[in-house]
């Protein structure tokens, strides 16, 4: 199977369908990313803009990377920033979801309302750049290096930000108790 980089190369050579194939590979992931950051209605409006922006900037894609997903998150984040700038504050979806709209019933960790409140509070105390890396790793399942690609920062910086974020989370009020409780519950059920 051709890599994303190959398809983008073919797209630059005039193969119209090659870029659509890249999109089809990543539309679910990028769509979910947009939903998490902007809510479903806005995400549905933004997704096409993300593809257009990615298509227009594909010449800048570093084809030494086979997987385009981190790059597409970066493109999506740029569109989100434009969207956020253009919207009144009351229209924006919180960075950290307040309600578990359509939450995955098979999630590995089933959070209760109190746990969500604790985590939301902890996340809001992180620096924005720490939160950005953390989200990409925790929500989009990227490595720190891939998160760095998405954000256009050095990999070492992303690793440092992730480490800082994790440490801050673990030390945040309520989170360590939450982790202890979760893990001791698991122990009891073994």
């Amino acid at each position: 199977m051709a890599s994303d980089a190959d398809l983008i190369g073919r797209s630059l050579d005039g193969d119209v369908d090659a870029f659509v194939e890249v999109v089809e590979r990543h539309e679910a992931a990028v769509g979910a990313y947009l939903v998490r950051r902007a809510g479903r209605d806005a995400a549905e409006d933004l997704l096409g803009e993300v593809w257009v922006a990615a298509f227009e900037s594909r010449r800048l894609y570093d084809r030494s990377y086979n997987d385009a997903r981190p790059w597409l998150y970066g493109v999506a984040l740029n569109r989100l920033r434009r969207y956020w700038r253009s919207r009144p504050a009351e229209d924006l979806v919180a960075d950290v979801p307040d309600v578990a709209t359509g939450s995955d019933p098979w999630s590995a960790v089933d959070l209760g309302v109190d746990a969500r409140a604790v985590l939301r509070s902890a996340l809001t105390r992180l620096k924005p750049e720490e939160r950005e890396v953390l989200r990409l790793v925790a929500w989009e399942d990227l490595t720190a290096a891939d998160a760095a690609r998405a954000l256009g920062i050095p990999a070492g910086t992303a690793r440092r930000l992730l480490s800082q974020a994790r440490t801050a989370l673990r030390d945040a009020p309520g989170v360590s108790a939450l982790l202890k409780d979760r893990n001791s519950t698991k122990e009891r059920h073994r």
């Binding site: 659509v20 998490r36 996340l123 989170v175």
Partner: protein, 381 residues
């Protein structure tokens, strides 16, 4: 063992997009690939009804695109050169919107020439010859074939696109005397294209339009028009009036469905030979100027395009001077674009090569492309 990443990860669960949202997003992408200049600023102007209409039409065309069609062939009704070079975003949008609006609901007044020959319009085989005011185009089309180019074996053309005060893109194109065309965003890109044998004349998205332009150089104006419209896969060309009406009504109905889905309101434009003639003229301008932009350094392409433009009633030609050099200014007026906006091409009066293209739409920044041409030797690039 649960760690902090697991906890945060559980916060990120979200309901998926609806399937139609993915389809719609892909349709937007397809439209952008077919028409980058038109779509680029959709987001920025999405509050405008006209933008919605432009989107609607593009979606209509993309749903019917065939697998082999090039991006150029998928384009519809837009200021031509701006589209190929992706200029202008805002201007492209507004122009497309204006033209789509014309296609949908403006009265089919037509040009005087068009009105005189409604039967020809209906058959898609107009016998139009340019009147006196467009005669310089025919004259130049004939004379440029005999012009001997300066030393070298290729033209290198640098096209700089500016939208308002912002430079959007610089495109380099090499036209060899052997009729090959290589393009890219730098001379390095051109060298790469040469190494990969990516000759736009034969296998690029504009190849069918370039071929039609070359054919038009030695065809009658009517045949030239038909060839260009067929190259653009214009569905109405070559049909008898009854068949044209059927296709026209179907297209209008499809457009209405999409417009209504998007909450818009535009009356369908009734079929008439004059409306078809306007439609053909608009398409001919669009595709011919795209061919000119893509094939500017090819003498046959230029000659063919000049002959084609001379058949369009909404086109006027004036002598002009640009930086001390004799030029011709070719203007497609508002009637070409649904009542507002215009496109002005400036070409060298001796060679016919592009000097400047300006797209004007009221209320949007001016979009222009300036062309700098120089003779080079391919091997020395």
């Amino acid at each position: 063992m649960t760690d902090e990443l697991d906890l945060v990860g559980a916060l990120g669960s979200a309901e998926p997009l609806r399937p139609e949202a993915y389809q719609r997003a892909r349709a937007v992408l397809r439209a952008a690939m077919a028409d980058p200049g038109t779509v680029r600023l959709l987001g920025a102007t999405s509050a405008e009804d006209t933008t919605m209409e432009a989107t609607s039409t593009m979606e209509t065309t993309t749903t019917t695109r065939d697998h082999e069609s090039s991006p150029a062939i998928q384009r519809r009704r837009r200021i031509g050169i701006a589209g190929r070079l992706g200029i202008g975003a805002g201007v492209g949008v507004a122009a497309a919107a204006a033209v789509v609006a014309m296609m949908i609901n403006s009265p089919a007044t037509g040009g005087t020439q068009a009105g005189k020959d409604s039967s020809a319009a209906a058959s898609g085989s107009t016998t139009a010859d340019g009147p006196v005011e467009r005669a310089p185009l025919m004259t130049l089309a004939g004379s440029i074939k005999t012009v001997t180019p300066p030393a070298g074996d290729a033209w290198l053309v640098k096209a700089t696109q500016v939208h308002g005060t912002k430079t959007m893109q610089v495109v380099y194109t090499l036209y060899t005397d052997g009729h090959a065309i290589y393009t890219g965003n730098s001379v390095q890109d051109i060298k790469r294209a040469i190494a990969r044998h990516q000759d736009q004349m034969t296998d690029g998205g504009y190849a069918p339009l370039l071929e039609a332009a070359v054919a038009a150089a030695d065809s009658s104006p009517a045949d030239g028009r038909t060839q260009m419209l067929k190259a653009a896969k214009e569905p109405l060309v070559g049909l008898d009036p009854a068949a044209q009406k059927a296709v026209w009504d179907k297209q209008q109905a499809a457009a209405q469905v999409i417009i209504k889905q998007k909450g818009g309101n535009a009356e369908p434009k009734p079929y008439s030979p004059q409306a078809v003639q306007q439609h053909f003229d608009n398409a001919l301008w669009t595709y011919s100027t795209q061919a000119l932009s893509a094939g500017d350094g090819n003498t046959q392409v230029r000659a063919g395009v000049l002959r084609l433009l001379s058949t369009i009633s909404a086109v006027s030609v004036k002598n002009s001077t640009t930086h001390g050099k004799a030029t011709l200014t070719i203007t497609a007026g508002p009637e070409m674009f649904g009542g507002e906006g215009s496109e002005v091409l400036t070409i060298d009066a001796e060679t016919g090569m592009l000097v400047k293209d300006v797209s004007i739409v009221p209320g949007t920044p001016q979009a222009s492309t300036t062309y700098e041409s120089s003779r080079v030797t391919k091997a020395d690039l």
